[in-house]
């Protein structure tokens, strides 16, 4: 198989995470929130990972945040599936601190990699990867 036709690895749509992916397909960023201790829960868990409560509900977030840190991928290494990312090089893998508190791993897109800075304000956009999977990525907010 030619490298250009390699498919990127997709998430497994586990039962506990399915509401997240369903919402993403509707262009909505949601996370679980504990109805007892009010903690946000990310990544998806069967129950609250702070207090153990099973009263957790999916809540829509603002989709806004800032870059906590990042790296620029200039070379794909390791697992065979990584090769599928070669056409995207260079690209930014970042930790995004959402305004509500949780930290996500994602990509900063829509900006030259040289312009990405820590503390940069970003907003979520969704990129379709398969019929079911839309990945939440982040673009710089226009100030």
């Amino acid at each position: 198989m030619a490298e250009a036709t390699l498919k990127k690895p997709l998430p497994v749509l586990t039962s506990e995470a399915k509401p997240f992916w369903d919402a993403a397909a509707q262009q909505k960023l949601v996370m679980q929130r504990c109805q007892d201790c009010r903690a946000y829960i990310w990544t998806p868990r069967p129950a609250c990972f702070e207090c153990g409560s099973e009263r957790v509900e999916w809540t829509q977030l603002s989709g806004k945040g800032q870059v906590y840190s990042f790296t620029v991928i200039r070379q794909v290494v390791g697992r065979a599936a990584s090769k599928a990312f070669e056409p995207d090089v260079p690209y930014v893998v970042a930790w995004i601190d959402l305004d509500e508190g949780p930290r996500m791993i994602s990509n900063v897109i829509g900006s030259p990699v040289e312009d990405v800075k820590l503390g940069m304000k970003v907003a979520v956009v969704f990129e379709q990867q398969s019929p079911e999977v839309w990945l939440p990525k982040f673009k710089p907010m226009v100030s």
């Binding site: 497994v12 949780p102 791993i105």
Partner: protein
Amino acid sequence: MSIRGKAAIVGIGETPTDRLGSKPGEPRKSSAEYLSWALHLALADAGLRLKDFNGQGLGVTIPTAYPQPFWPEEVAEILGITPGFLFAGGTGGAGSVSLLGQMGAGIASGMIDLALGIGAAAPFAEHHGGGLQPGDMRDFEIPFGTMGANSKIAMVMRRHMHEYGTTLDHLGKIAVAGRYHASLNPAAYLRKPITIQDYKDSRLVADPVRLLDCVLPANGGKAYILASPERAKKLRKPPVYVKGFGERSNPSYGPRAGSDALVMGIKDAGKVAMEMAEIKHSDINFLQLYDDYVIVVYLQIEDLGFCAKGDLSYFERTDFTFKGQLPIQTGGGMINCGQPSTAGGTLHVLEAVRQLRGEGGERQVPGAKTGLVSGLGVLPYGKNLGCCAVAVLGTEP
């Protein structure tokens, strides 16, 4: 409950490390061969026989690329041991330090009085496939094009530089000290001394992580033998006692959905271990810190409490060589000696034993009586390292 002084290391075995087997026709050894080699070196060092381990403890570190759930038992089959207490080192690179705690507790309970801790891997010579990934990594990291540990640690390093003004001079000092010690260690793999400028000039692997920040994957096997103090006293080498042990897995500093990525579980594991050992920082003669990356060594020195978080001046004024105020990585660490998967961390236990026996050769820390060893493993979502283990070892119980 304390295990202070209730178990001692009485034998060590370490094969040479190599990177052979990736090219066709290159001579190669299997994990089984490295395991057996390490075991026989440790038996010779301790003056024990294979039979002595029947009905006793066996602890095996589980390598990352060999997804066979019965590996510890298979190792017993390979070596020809019938253990009475089989321990699985399942904390990744922290495995060998974790096993000091697990097997030390087993010995302290009186159920066994001898235990073998062992691990090997041959990532260049054996190809088991990629193995399974943890769910969060599979579903919420890899689809975004993360490139393993390099990406994660690059983000940790960049954030530390941003928050505290840490520079390549601060970090390079750790790299230079490690290589200097490797130059004095005949068993090290990378032995040519380097300068801070060499560190700065090394290739960017995952910006800002450079080649000389990174550990060196290798083939090899490592083992140690733990015994009760009564049994240890009858053996040929001076006992090296487990004085303290602490471990934290899945640590979190702040909310679990947004933990402080610059603090490691070593902070609490170290505190527990030092309290068990009843020692102060000034009692510690050297550190052997798990070193998958230079920044990870740096963070541990902070989190163990040798200085405040972000105290750059501490790193500027401290001599980290074996002659200095705080010797670290006295054999060169995994960065210079090689990392056979999760067995790699055992290197730090073995170097601590050599130093405490006075077998450090040209790199011997003068008068070493107490040392601290750490192990780290697993890179969980949104955090730095997920399994953190610390042991305090010493010449006295």
